[in-house]
C-alpha cells in the first residue's frame, strides 16, 4: 500500500527517569518531502529520531513506517525496509578505514554470508567490485579522497560527520533521517551537500527527515518544517511561516534572523 505518509508518529512518549523527553508527540513525514525538525536544545528531537529508527523503544504510542506498525522493531530490521539514519555524535567504525566504513553499508551483500564466502567466491567478488566503486564515488564527492585509507577513528570531527552522511549515499533508502549533519561541516562543502540532498530527493525520490540548527540549510532545503519544544510538536509549516511566529522566534531563534 502506498500512503502519502511515509513516517507517521502517533502519540509517542519517552521518559528518562522523571524527565519526559518526548511527550505524547505526533507528527508525520510526507513521502518525497524534505521535512525539517527544529527546536531548542533538549527539545527531544534526537530522542524522537531514536524511536523512529528503532534505537530506543517508546514508552507509549506507535511509529508507522510505510503503512506498517514498526514500533519496537530493531534498527537493522528498519534498515531492511528502507530506513537509514545518521547520528548527531558521529558513530564511525574507528578501526576501519574511511572506505571500509562506506563499503560495509549496503545490505544483502552475498559476501556477508559464511556459506557464500566459502563456496561462491566469484559472486562475492563481483558484488564487491560494485560496492567499492560506489564507495569511491561517494568518497570523492565528499572530498575525503586523501583520507580514504585512514582509520576513521583518526579523522577530524568534520570528516567523521561527512562519513556519516556518506553512508546514506551508499544505499537506496526510502527515508533518510539526518541528525545534525551540518554541525562542524565546512560551509563550502555544505553547499555541495545540500545540492546533493536536493538531487537525491528530486531525482531519486528519497524522503529526508532532517534535524538541523543551521537555519540557512533548513530554509534552503526543507518544506515543511516541524518545531518541537519540551517533547511536543508546537508548530508545522513552511519556513517563512515558522519565522513569522513570534513565540518561536523568541524561544528558538533568539533574535530575528535576517532572511537570506
Amino acid at each position: 500500500m502506498s500512503s502519502d505518509l511515509v513516517i507517521d508518529v502517533r502519540n509517542v512518549s519517552k521518559r528518562f527517569g522523571g524527565l519526559r523527553a518526548v511527550n505524547n508527540c505526533s507528527l508525520s513525514v510526507r513521502r518525497g518531502s524534505i521535512t525539517g525538525l527544529i527546536g531548542p536544545n533538549g527539545a527531544g528531537k534526537s530522542t524522537l529520531f531514536n524511536m523512529v529508527a528503532g534505537n530506543i523503544t517508546p514508552d507509549e504510542g506507535q511509529v508507522i513506517f510505510d503503512g506498517q506498525d514498526v514500533t519496537g522493531w530493531k534498527p537493522f530490521e528498519l534498515f531492511r525496509v528502507g530506513m537509514l539514519r545518521t547520528f548527531q555524535i558521529a558513530h564511525e567504525f574507528g578501526q576501519m578505514t574511511a572506505l571500509e566504513n562506506l563499503m560495509m553499508v549496503p545490505g544483502d551483500q552475498p559476501g556477508e554470508h559464511l556459506i557464500d564466502t566459502w563456496f561462491r567466491p566469484r559472486l562475492v567478488k563481483s558484488r564487491e567490485i560494485e560496492v567499492r566503486k560506489k564507495a569511491l564515488d561517494v568518497i570523492d564527492f565528499l572530498k575525503l579522497g586523501h583520507v580514504r585509507d585512514e582509520l576513521a577513528g583518526n579523522l577530524s570531527g568534520g570528516q567523521k560527520k561527512l562519513l556519516e552522511l556518506g553512508r546514506t549515499m551508499m544505499v537506496d533508502a526510502k527515508v533518510v533521517l539526518l541528525d545534525e549533519v551540518a554541525a562542524g561541516v565546512n560551509k563550502t562543502l555544505l553547499n555541495d551537500l545540500a545540492g546533493n540532498i536536493e538531487r537525491m530527493n528530486s531525482e531519486l525520490g528519497y524522503t529526508f527527515f532532517v534535524i538541523e540548527h543551521d537555519m540557512d540549510l533548513i530554509g534552503r532545503l526543507c518544506d515543511p518544517v516541524i518545531v518541537m519544544a519540551q517533547g511536543e510538536k508546537i508548530a508545522e509549516g513552511p519556513m517563512a511561516e515558522i519565522r513569522a511566529n513570534p513565540a518561536i522566534v523568541e524561544a528558538y531563534f533568539g533574535t530575528p534572523v535576517e532572511v537570506a
Binding site: 533538549g42 570531527g157 545534525e180 565546512n186 562543502l189 533568539g254 533574535t255 534572523v257
Partner: protein, 234 residues
C-alpha cells in the same frame, strides 16, 4: 607583547606532520578565530598548543616562555583553558561536578565563578544534579564551556563551541565569548559557523592543509572574495 604566539609550528600524531608551519598571534584583548576546511588542522593546532600532541618544530610563546610540549596540568594553572571538540564532558558526573573539575587546579573559593557560569547558562543550573551523559547535544556543549571557564583562564581555547547549538544559543554563546573577552580573557577558537564568528573576530586565520592561507581581521576575511568563495560557502 602577544599573549600567545605560534611561530612556524610543525607537529602531528606520529605519522606525517599535520601542521606544516602555523603562525598565530593573539593579544589579551583579541578574539581569534580559526577557520578552514574539514581536516585542515584546526583542532590539531589547538591540541598542539595544549600539549596534547608532539610539536616537532617552531615555538609557542605564552606569557613570555616557550610552552611547546608542556602538559596540561602545567598549562592550566598558567592560565590556559581548552574545550575539545568531542567527548568534552564527564558523562557519569553531574553538571556541578563537571564544573568543579574545571576548577581543579584552583585552590581558592570558586563558588563565585560557578554562579557566574550558571548565570550564563540557566539550563545548567536547573540540571545541576543530572549526569552530563543524559543531556542533549547542546546542553553538553554548555557544560563543556562552563567547565573550561571555571579555571578563570587568561586564554580560552574553544573547538567549535557553537556546533550543535540552536541559533539562539549560538548567538548567546558568541555574545558570552565576547563578554568573557571583555573581562580580560583572550579567546582563540575554531569555528565552522565562520561568517558569524568572523564578524566579531579581531583576528582571523584561514588554515588549509596545516598552513596559514589568509590572515587578517575577521571582517577583512569576510570581505575577501576568495576566502568567502573557497572557505565560507560563498
Amino acid at each position: 607583547m602577544a599573549l600567545i604566539e605560534l611561530k612556524q609550528v610543525v607537529g602531528g600524531y606520529g605519522g606525517a606532520p599535520i601542521l606544516n608551519g602555523v603562525n598565530i598571534a593573539i593579544e589579551k584583548t583579541d578574539i581569534g578565530v580559526i577557520v578552514g576546511p574539514n581536516g585542515a588542522g584546526k583542532s590539531t593546532t589547538l591540541k598542539a598548543i595544549f600539549g596534547l600532541l608532539k610539536v616537532t618544530g617552531g615555538t609557542i610563546d605564552f606569557g613570555g616562555e616557550n610552552i611547546a610540549n608542556s602538559l596540561p596540568d602545567k598549562l592550566v594553572p598558567k592560565g590556559l583553558s581548552f574545550v575539545p571538540q568531542e567527548k568534552n564532558v564527564f558523562t557519569s558526573m553531574n553538571v556541578e561536578e563537571n564544573l568543579e573539575m574545571g576548577a581543579f587546579t584552583r585552590r581558592d573559593d570558586f563558588r563565585q565563578t560557578m554562579n557566574w557560569v550558571y548565570g550564563m547558562f540557566p539550563v545548567l543550573a536547573e540540571k545541576r544534579r543530572q549526569p552530563a551523559g543524559e543531556l542533549s547535544g547542546g546542553q553538553r556543549q554548555m557544560v563543556a564551556m562552563g567547565r573550561a571557564l571555571m579555571s578563570k583562564p587568561s586564554l580560552l581555547m574553544l573547538d567549535e563551541p557553537s556546533a550543535g547549538l540552536s541559533p539562539r544559543y549560538v548567538i548567546e554563546i558568541f555574545e558570552t565569548i565576547q563578554r568573557v573577552n571583555k573581562e580580560g580573557v583572550g579567546i582563540l577558537m575554531v569555528e565552522q559557523n565562520a561568517r558569524q564568528a568572523l564578524a566579531f573576530a579581531s583576528k582571523g586565520f584561514v588554515l588549509a592543509q596545516g598552513q596559514n592561507r589568509f590572515t587578517g581581521t575577521g571582517p577583512e576575511l569576510i570581505a575577501d572574495p576568495e576566502v568567502a568563495k573557497s572557505f565560507l560557502g560563498g
